[in-house]
Symmetry: C2
Subunit: 187 residues, 2 copies
């Protein structure tokens, strides 16, 4: 989210919009990243355990990410349009859990949703908060097709920093030195 | 892996080959699934915390999946070519942990690797084993760019099944009834 750490409430829910998966894009993604027959060939897929063509789980998850990025950018634009200053979301250091629960088939429309599970100031990145997010995708029949838990950073509007932390932030922001000193696993 | 459950040893390592990420494909993936400026625009990315264009984490992970699928299919072909019967790998029900540790930049060559961490017969899918795999990608400078832990199924060559489990397997294999009765979260 583009909101400031202080403005994101634990428990709040953000709809991310929906996406309809076409046969063409299911096959296109599969050709590049998951060329298994049940993602590529409808006739062969009919004989698989899926009983037909299904999207790669990586496709379902990547599209969820796309919907989140679109939502974040649209919100930032809207905040700027009304004269506000959007908060800043940092990249995610990783995914804690991702489950593929039901197949995504051609012409399925998946609604994605983001929930805020927890938040705390980051230990490794002063001035930023660590958010625990939950995301899911649900098809047109109300079946949840995937869930995901991940952490991401949101900037704190008014961080309460020591002098040492301020110096650390300054060094970490330097283009060459920063990446060298940054801890490997940010949390 | 296309090997039978019995033939996969805990602790063994499978090289999955390497991939060089070009500027073009980094931007192409980003356009579809992660349109953030540090994945799309080199000049703007130079001013980001990354100091230059970087691949989406979803791109890095999806390419790792591709390398694994390629390796599995090549191994199956080789086993068939020598008159053998390859084992069967089922789709993965999910990812348990994925960490993005270092950026992937244009022209970086990432070597992917799969390790077998644990295995046991599945409780929810009789006749299959649940494998715990670890995967990582390392760049040309020896820096690990991402790690991933996930579970996947491998078929057991000689499963020791009760009559009830055999009936369950038969029903689960039916095209319409099977998907209806299958447990949601297989493990």
């Amino acid at each position: 989210m583009t909101r400031w750490y202080e403005d994101i409430d634990v428990g709040s829910e953000f709809p991310l919009g929906e996406h309809t998966f076409t046969t063409g894009e299911i096959k296109r993604f599969a050709k590049s990243y998951d060329p298994q027959y049940f993602h590529l060939d409808g006739a062969l897929a009919a004989q698989s355990q899926f009983g037909g063509l299904v999207a790669s789980g990586w496709h379902t998850a990547s599209m969820g990410h796309r919907k989140m990025v679109d939502t974040i950018m649209a919100e930032a634009d809207q905040i700027r349009a009304t004269g506000g200053v959007p908060g800043e979301a940092g990249p995610s250091p990783g995914i804690d859990k991702m489950d593929f629960l039901a197949p995504v088939r051609p012409d399925d429309t998946i609604s994605y949703r983001l929930l805020v599970r927890a938040k705390r100031p980051s230990k490794s990145l002063p001035g930023w908060g660590v958010m625990t997010y939950f995301m899911d995708g649900t098809n047109q029949d109300g079946v949840t097709v995937y869930t995901q838990e991940f952490v991401a950073f949101n900037r704190i509007r008014r961080p309460n920093l020591t002098l040492g932390q301020r110096v650390g932030m300054f060094i970490a922001a330097l283009p060459i030195v920063g990446p060298m000193i940054r801890t490997r696993r940010l949390r």
